[in-house]
Amino acid sequence: MRMTPDVDASARRTKTVSAGDIAMSCRVRLARNLSDERFPDWATECDRERVFAKVRAALETEKTGATLEPVASFDAQHLEMLREAHLISKDLLEHAAGGGIARLEKSQVCMMVNEEDHLRIQGFSFGLDMQTAWQRADQLDTLLERQLNYAWSPRFGYLTACPSNVGTGLRASAMVHLLGLRLLGELEAVVRGLERMRLLVRGIGGEGSEAAGQIYQISNMDALGVSEETIVQRVARISGEVVRQEHNARVRLVQEMPLVLMDCLARSLSVLQNARLLSTVEALEFLSAMRLGAALGFFTRLKVFDIDKLILLMQPGHMQQGMKTSLMSEERDEVRAGFLSRKLAHVKLKG
């Protein structure tokens, strides 16, 4: 989807920002539980193993083509990589007994077993294509409900371990890069507006730090009293509005403060090309600026997608996998700086 900027000709000289440059990806998650089992947090190891077995049997009977494997069968580095790609959560890794990860072949679906709920079915898609993400999760759920006795009541819908997910058990979320709004000092107002519309905004990226790299996740607060379709459409529509605001912010940055913007891009490139030590959070801040510059077409031979790849590859799990070894934290910072400077050596700022 192309944005139609309502700006004058001078701004049109810069590359048209597509929605995908701002909305990185989206997901729809369904929380499901089995009726005669304790929720994972209160279950014994034996209970959790039984749930795992039931789910595995259901996946096989329905010929879903999904492979379910116990968390314990993966090595630590691969689990870390899955977490860095936001496919699994920290929660799943913390109680490993009975925990499982299922993936559907040829489909962007990943399911966690025995996380906070017995099942967390997640469908993914690009940009703001939430409808596809929802259909992917819904399809697997519909197959599983024929085999499993889901905990469900006409009143509260799908019963979940935490009442904040009860009802549809659905959380639709969009990952968006909002550096333009942040640089113009307008991000807070946008976030407040979203919260008034009952949408949750969370920074992702850095550990502990609020929103390293200005990457945010926008998702629904309400899961009960609204249909799945309505939630999905609403989150997609409002996220689309945020994308439009971010787009306008970027256009204004180019028009109103070109020097500040170019300075920020030049410094970021310079640090990434020359630094000898870079922590994950630090690197993310500079890569975030590079991402904005790439979206505006200010760098030679650099696409937004290249930066997205680097954002993933410079995370500790991915880096160590690339090196085929495990590293101490300081060693990692050194390796990360070297890696990024090699990857970006050929990049130049235009004009």
Partner: protein, 180 residues
């Protein structure tokens, strides 16, 4: 433990909320506590309110004291409520802010009703219906009614219920329930 209203951040304080005439104590975060206090303030009718300056603090304090003491009396009994299926008590579930099992929704329905309505601004599901789970739910409702009818020696009603269960099919456990 997490805030019992938003379930997002750590609870730091306690608020009291009246639901269906019963006062509940909720552990909440500062933000939710503020929101709750704003919501509650305009409601209580002040008996001695006689005009502009008449909003006296005294009756308000009295009401707060009444409410507080009432809770002290009640909280002792409330701790004893436990889910009959998983055995988790209200106190335990609130500490971890996770329910024990699906049956907890029945066992703690009073608390949850309020929490759910705060969390979602709704109390009725309108969405996907899993057929198998729906049938299981209906069967369970009929089984409960059948048990009641048998215990109350309302045999005609029991026979009707048993026939309805028979039509649903599947579970054999309905048979034999009418045996004395």
């Amino acid at each position: 433990m997490k805030c019992e209203m938003c379930h997002q951040v750590e609870a730091e304080t306690v608020v009291h909320k009246t639901i269906e005439g019963e006062i509940l104590e909720l552990f909440v975060c500062q933000e939710c506590a503020r929101r709750e206090s704003r919501r509650d303030v305009p409601h209580p009718p002040l008996p001695h309110d006689n005009g502009e300056d008449g909003v006296s603090a005294v009756p308000l304090m009295g009401m707060i004291l009444d409410a507080a003491f009432e809770i002290v009396g009640k909280s002792i009994n409330r701790e004893e409520t436990a889910c009959p299926v998983c055995g988790i008590s209200r106190g335990e579930y609130r500490k971890r802010s996770r329910l024990g099992c699906p049956a907890c929704y029945e066992a703690f329905s009073k608390d949850l009703e309020a929490a759910i309505s705060d969390l979602h601004r709704a109390t009725q599901h309108t969405g996907k219906t899993p057929e198998k789970a729906k049938a299981a739910w209906q069967r369970q409702q009929l089984l409960n009614a059948l048990d009641d009818a048998v215990k109350g020696q309302r045999y005609e009603e029991a026979i009707i219920l048993r026939d309805q269960l028979g039509k649903l099919g599947g579970d054999e456990s309905a048979k034999g329930r009418l045996a004395p």
